[in-house]
Symmetry: C2
């Protein structure tokens, strides 16, 4: 990590203009979040193609054609998502062809692939389905092993158009496997990663900037991302000819300056780092959750392979559950309350014991909107941590609504565990991923 | 429910053109999802103002000004989000003023409110902070009780501009409390809800459309939203003069035709409906989760007030945990495996017993990427359900990646519980909300 320069190579020197057009009524009617923008934003930026502007339009041929007509030639790269299927509200293919004045032609390989796929899933091919087998004349078919609608790659006069299907499970592998190599071939994308990202926890963006800014070399571009406690600094060449090695060198200096607030380089989640730490140590963890209500457990189990280190979690909302499942003494709950340092420590110890795990982590607090006391208002959370070398607790106060309190408590618990395990692990555990 | 016509009143007869401009580098660099578009999309559509087009631009004064200049006059309503703060990358206020040729003037009430707020949070007011107290000449200040940057409401020549701050906790109450009443005053928004939404589970969009389409009256507009098993049909007047009563009448017919697949009208989550069912019955539920890893528990605890009916969850990933915490016999795990109908039923019964709850729900399956057998490949999930009248299980198969398997299993488990509890509850339990 902070080292694999073979993964980072020089980018096109001129910054590219990139437009993303997401097609779909459901994105505008508050039905589905525009997850494609988030995903493409990261994956284009990693290839040196940060999105300049993004537009969402309805499933309407006229509107799609108008956006393409207004933007073609002004952008190096235009990416469309959605509207590629066989139904009557799928207009992207025809609208783009009309806007560019390019013919739509039948693609025999696309039809063969579609017939093969339908055979696999034992469906018969209808006429409407075959509409997906047309392509802009002069364009290339992007094969879709996860669905029926192929994508399109079209390059003319220095501008590139990429048309991707709407479902995320189809779009993402198509982008990685079919689009990125072609973007490199036409000199649009970087050969490797376009920036180094340093992930931190606990510092805040302003103090992190004060550390990073003086370490930057000439021409380097610095941006920040914050996610409920996690603060990322991205250091990019910005088309200034800075080499990947120089970026890595800065990232290494940032890591050393940041100390224990350094989480990783790259995009690994806090949970995946703790899982990896435990995996290296061949140790296990169990949880006892009250106010986070299963969210901490869910963060662990989102990591593929977590079952090797994650024993389980007792989500004990009610005091009876804390007593019956975890064996927390009633007198402790009466004397100190369920939201207390004492209860957090007892829960953490009990979780480790009941699940037979090496480590126990507990969260108890007032997530709101009800609950809380004068001394411990809504937003007060106690974390407990039981390890072979002792049991500790800490108190935090989180502002925000119920869901924000849960997320912040989960991230802080994960980060606390990461710090505690840090000394047992090799320094550069996580490859940026 | 499907009845409160006082909540639904007639909308402007001409469809409105609505543009949303979200400002922020982090939205384009894959750092933060554009949650504002999802939220505003729903809340504008509910007021009869479906978004026509949405644009995301960078924190750049020139780009913001260009978008405003290109769109002002072509839209009835333009909403901007972000770039309203005091820092050097907050450009929205100045850029909009430049684009519209309107002066920015100081607002004494805004400054008073800001000074008051800073006093509350014991911060001193810097010069940069005061930049937030300027407003487009002729506009109105939208007060922000949850932050420092006020919003702006500006109406000229039949077009309306609304400028909202970036943080969701500030934007949402400001929209509800400050913006919606003003939009009604200028005749832009409906007085009540603009559509009726019928939420279903288990039918799929195509069969639901076949049921709903023949029930529509002339001029009514039908749209669909799907969310991993949940399928919503929205029936709107589409500016055709259809009354709220007529829409409710159709929704009532859809409910009757859909039968047990009918979930609710409105926007209530499956978890909130089950919580409400249990609250009415004064019963409690406990969970035993394997492959969903805490996500089912988290869905319950996202509902405010869930603690009244939700006893807790044992997230038992490892077989040892299933034995030690839930007392699942080792011979059952050996004979049938942890992913089996027998194990799901035993887990559900054990959860109810250990937590002292009336109902127990269990989920065990292969979420992937590893695991699975020839008979039960990755994506196979067994649900267990223990109730005072018996114990059942069912098997489902879910395609998709690890996270999709988890979400689909959670939704199916919640829906199964909803169906089972349905007969104990009054028909129209949930008011659309």
């Amino acid at each position: 990590m902070v080292a694999p320069t073979s993964q980072m190579q020089s980018c096109p020197s001129r910054p590219r203009q990139v437009l993303v057009i997401n097609v779909g009524d459901e994105l505008l009617d508050g039905i589905r979040e525009n997850g494609h923008l988030l995903w493409l934003g990261e994956h284009l930026a990693r290839r040196g193609l940060p999105i300049t502007r993004s537009i969402v339009v309805r499933d309407n041929a006229g509107e799609i054609a108008r956006e393409i007509g207004a933007s073609w030639g002004a952008y190096d790269l235009v990416v469309t998502t959605g509207g590629m299927g066989p139904t009557s509200d799928d207009h992207t293919r025809a609208a783009v062809a009309a806007a560019l004045g390019v013919k739509l032609v039948h693609s025999a390989p696309a039809e063969a692939a579609l017939r093969q796929r339908f055979k696999q899933i034992t469906r018969t091919v209808a006429d409407a389905d075959l509409s997906q087998c047309t392509i802009l004349e002069g364009g290339e078919i992007l094969t879709n092993p996860n669905g029926t609608a192929p994508g399109v790659f079209f390059h003319r006069d220095g501008s590139t158009l990429v048309m991707l299907p709407g479902p995320a499970l189809e779009l993402r592998p198509m982008f990685e496997n079919e689009v990125v190599p072609r973007l490199r071939n036409v000199g649009c994308a970087c050969d490797g990663e376009a920036y180094v990202q340093v992930r931190t926890f606990g510092l805040g963006a302003v103090p992190l900037e004060a550390i990073v800014r003086p370490l930057l070399g000439p021409g380097m571009v610095l941006t920040f991302g914050t996610h409920t406690g996690v603060v990322d600094a991205r250091i990019a060449s910005g088309g200034s000819g800075v080499t990947a090695e120089q970026l890595c060198d800065v990232a290494r200096k940032v890591r050393d300056a940041v100390g224990h607030d350094f989480v990783c380089t790259g995009h690994a989640s806090l949970a995946s780092i703790v899982v990896e730490q435990l995996r290296c140590m061949e140790k296990t963890v169990a949880l006892a959750e009250s106010c986070t209500g299963g969210l901490l457990s869910n963060a662990f189990t989102d990591v593929p392979g977590a079952s090797k280190v994650f024993a389980g979690s007792a989500v004990c909302y009610a005091n009876d559950a804390k007593m019956n499942l975890l064996g927390i003494p009633e007198c402790l709950l009466v004397q100190h309350g369920a939201v207390s340092a004492e209860c957090a420590e007892a829960m953490a110890s009990a979780a480790a014991e009941k699940f037979g795990a090496d480590y126990g982590v507990a969260v108890t607090g007032f997530a709101g909107p009800d609950g809380g006391t004068a001394a411990d208002p809504v937003g007060t959370v106690y974390l407990g941590y039981a390890s072979p070398s002792g049991v500790w607790s800490r108190r935090l106060f989180v502002s925000g609504d119920r869901l924000q309190v849960k997320v912040r408590a989960v991230n802080t618990a994960l980060d606390w565990m990461r710090r505690n395990l840090h000394k047992y692990c090799v320094e550069d555990l996580i490859q940026g991923a």
